[in-house]
Symmetry: C2
Subunit: 568 residues, 2 copies
């Protein structure tokens, strides 16, 4: 079969049903093959949006893909790829490159630097991809594709595949078997030794904690982890990045750990723990509130996807295998009751005054009532991300955020990908998809506003709660609160669907806009049956005070500000 | 003085009056110094726009600058920086980076890959900048800044300057002298030898040609070149990239050379030339129409900024010095009359039918009458760039386009920078600025639509002729004319100013929109006094047929299509 058909067949086999990207003369011939491979072409307005959206798609569907083009196209997407690498998201980035003949002749081509070097842009992706392959030879191309896709899935990181225009229809054998995606197998004896140690520590500890961070979601162990939390009854927390991984209705779930930016009694309680089972750590300054939420390494057992660390000893192993064996052991034993944190149930949402402006302290508990099982929630870096720990989530919700990369505009475009992934999953499963709900900021939205056009073009169902606080509030609380560099041009955000060309009379794709200058207007919006259904494009613009930030962010900002000035 | 003050003082000294960029916690403390250094902060909606706009500013003002941030910010701008490198534009890219203390500790910081490597993104800029410096030491920082800025100006290429947050207020000596920007001096004897040879070839030739390409605009020799064209009376052509460098009212100016995509009689005439003086070559496939417009090297003398090539011999020299000496020789001699191309005066614009749709063949001659001296024109890659050779320009106009990088969306954001540069120049000169006129495409606009917000925020005067041909027409004529991947979401483009928050009642900043579905509507728009004045934001949306392209583009597309499929 033709090489492009091989590539797209493989993409389909690993779970991609929709491909993001932007056309260009160096990739057009490849795009011809999408339809016959049953892949939906998204057609983004720009490449940065396509990269972020493929990332959002992968966070829901397990893998995402985009097609860009040599030079300007791929470089426009590079921020998104670096972000996917930083946060371990499996994104396949296919780059259409000039014909090999011209490359080999060192021709001075458009989209190049003019120096005959056609590897210079690919090299920029070297440190932000798990694999980088260039399909210049039909004899090796299938194996290179398979190997790159395997790395993408197993390492949960982006990969880069160059496809020269004149290789698109090169003949290769059709694939005979699915790609081998079986995880590596580790030595049983060393895994058993780890299980023994963990079990023994569980038996002997007095005050244990299970701390679940966001990378846990990449390891395919959510069921096992759920069983562990239930079976042990140990006090369980997530990080902000890990929120939604643990069913928040489990009685020993005690919320999100914010270190010194949160409940100091909790921090003090954790300080005295003698065992912390720490899953999927992402120990960056933001996620750990200036490293104040990193548990004491002396009492911590750390579980990554393919290793466990006990004290100074790191053992290569499968965390899935470890958990399975550990659960079997726990099943046959009874462990003594341990000290638990006196969990204060989350406050009932406070009564709100219909005439007053909406504030972070009340907003997140309040909006929690709007959230339903199967919803996918996204929070944009900024006040939304630092407000969302105060959400109370029903079971089977998924919260997507960025923890380390923190590129504003990321989650708006990712919400397009997430909504599409939900639709693609539902089409296979035959059950209705959950809603896609984005909590967005006004400054962030301006970065990637085109994503709203992509949502409309693909008739995706998205609810956007736009927290409009009149500029870069997160920057304001770090430095230069009233400086004009923290201002933005004020947009008429509710005109977005009109500008981006939505058919406002299309009964099959509703567009709804709501302005919420106060609690009353928000209540009315939330009572709207269409908004509750979440079909079509829904934008609820919520006015917030310029200086209103979640308390944890205020504390983190104080830390960052001191550090940036050299004081820390 | 504080290091940031030193840096911004130097920026001001080399000609920067406005700085583009986006705030971020890693650059906020530096931004505090802008005002006191009399630098205007643009405040772009995203970093790609800031990079393109700094490039557009530099194309008019001679140098541009942007401030981004470590990680996501700088990577969002990298496409623009690569483009500036490819097309030799002096752009200073300042990147706010994490505090040195945290970098040296290898801390896991936000905006990083989490691996403690803080050089990984800077390294990506290595091959697309003339200099890359990291201000980690107050003792060396001033010299590093001066050296980088010197490289930027003299090489006419972007440079990259990392500024850690805790170095912003490091103490450095105030600059005592302006930066030494004097060009390198070459051996007088070898320059004289080159002048002798060129003069001798000029004396002895039968059929000479002066061919002016776009990089000539980077060498500071426009006056000397103008004198050469007038003094010799030789047939003179520009390339598409070189358009507007030569005064088109000079009688021996014969238009734009399109190789085999243009006038075949001209190509045949050039084929028989025995001397081509080729200035500032940019020999990419697009600019030379599949290399068909590259002159015969056997008869060509090539002038770059710092070298001249005669036959196989390249001599380092100053082209400015060479031209000055050559003009002095020509002044004292009389050269015999040479064969000239029988220049057919450009066709008078055809009569147009008010009810008919606007087409490329008539549009460019027609719109030429709208253009005035001192206007700065920009053409977006796509049909606009390939249509613009048919413009007839009055003296002292400047046409800005992309020749090799061809990143769509580039010129929309560059028009923001160009308009600001015109205003900054006018404020110093005390005379009214020329208009900024952009010829834009509908697909391109979607890439960087935020630039319209930046234009409004900065109250810049721009006229946008939006050629709306319903999708990626340039891609359509290359491959997949009717394929849906070449479609775009149709936007309501005339709603842009409304969406992007322009005050529609502000008498000091007019917003005008015009829809031109046919020639009559275009005529009416062009008769509008406000549009003619060009103040405020003006958008004229011109409907064009999806398949209507300039003839030269049709021919180029045929070539590219064959090459991409491996046939060439």
């Amino acid at each position: 079969m033709d090489l492009a058909k091989y590539l797209f067949t493989r993409l389909g086999q690993i779970g991609v049903r929709s491909v993001h990207g932007v056309p260009s003369d160096y990739n057009l011939r490849a795009l011809d093959y999408l339809k016959s491979c049953n892949l939906h072409w998204v057609g983004n307005a720009n490449e940065l949006c396509s990269g972020y959206a493929a990332d959002g798609y992968a966070r829901v569907k397990g893998v995402g893909a985009l097609i860009s083009s040599f030079g300007p196209g791929e470089l426009s997407a590079i921020n998104a790829i670096a972000g996917a690498y930083s946060e371990k998201i499996p994104v396949v980035h296919i780059v259409g490159t000039p014909p090999l003949k011209a490359q080999r002749a060192g021709a001075c081509l458009h989209h190049s630097l003019g120096d005959g070097n056609f590897g210079v842009f690919a090299d920029m992706f070297k440190n932000i991809t798990a694999a980088k392959v260039n399909l210049i030879d039909a004899a090796t191309a299938p194996q290179m594709i398979d190997s790159a896709l395997r790395e993408c899935i197993l390492k949960s990181q982006p990969v880069y595949i160059s496809l020269p225009t004149d290789m698109v229809s090169a003949q290769v054998p059709a694939p005979e078997h699915p790609i081998d995606l079986s995880p590596p197998i580790y030595e049983a004896s060393s895994e058993s030794a780890v299980v023994d140690q963990v079990f023994s520590r569980i038996e002997s500890c007095r005050r244990p904690l299970i701390l679940v961070d966001g990378f846990t979601a990449r390891y395919g162990v959510l069921d096992e982890l759920d069983q562990l939390v239930r079976a042990t009854g140990f006090t369980t927390l997530t990080t902000p990045f890990g929120k939604s991984i643990v069913d928040e209705t489990i009685r020993n779930f005690c919320g999100v750990y914010l270190g010194s930016a949160g409940d100091l009694a909790l921090q003090s309680w954790i300080h005295d723990c003698d065992l912390v089972l720490y899953f999927g750590p992402e120990p960056s300054d933001g996620n750990t509130f200036g490293f104040s939420a990193v548990p004491n390494p002396d009492v911590t057992i750390t579980f990554e996807g393919n290793s466990t660390r006990i004290g100074a000893v790191e053992t290569p192993c499968s965390v899935k295998s470890i958990l399975t064996k550990l659960l079997a052991r726990l099943d046959k034993s009874s462990i003594t009751t341990k000290e638990g944190y006196q969990h204060r149930p989350s406050e009932a949402p406070r009564a709100v005054d219909r005439d007053r402006i909406i504030d972070h302290a009340s907003f997140w508990p309040y909006i929690s009532r709007f959230i339903r099982s199967e919803d996918v929630l996204l929070t944009e870096p900024g006040t939304a991300t630092y407000g969302s720990p105060a959400l109370t989530l029903p079971p089977s919700t998924k919260l997507i955020n960025s923890s380390r990369w923190l590129s504003i505009g990321h989650m708006l475009a990712a919400s397009q990908g997430a909504a599409l992934a939900q639709r693609d999953i539902a089409e296979v499963d035959g059950r209705p998809p959950g809603r896609t709900i984005l909590f967005e900021g006004d400054g962030s939205l301006q970065m990637t506003a085109q994503a709203i056009s992509d949502i409309i073009r693909n008739k995706l169902d998205v609810i956007i709660f736009l927290l409009n606080n009149n500029g870069y509030t997160t920057e304001r609380v770090i430095h230069g609160f009233s400086e004009s560099y923290n201002d933005i041009q004020p947009w008429r955000n509710l005109q977005a669907a009109n500008y981006f060309g939505a058919d406002l009379d299309d009964a099959s794709y509703a567009v709804r806009t709501f302005s919420a200058a106060n609690w009353g207007e928000l209540q009315d919006a939330l009572n709207h049956a269409g908004l509750q259904a979440g079909n079509g494009l829904n934008i609820v613009e919520i006015a917030m005070d310029m200086g209103d930030v979640p308390e944890a962010l205020q504390r983190l900002a104080h830390y960052v500000s001191k550090r940036n000035s050299g004081d820390k």
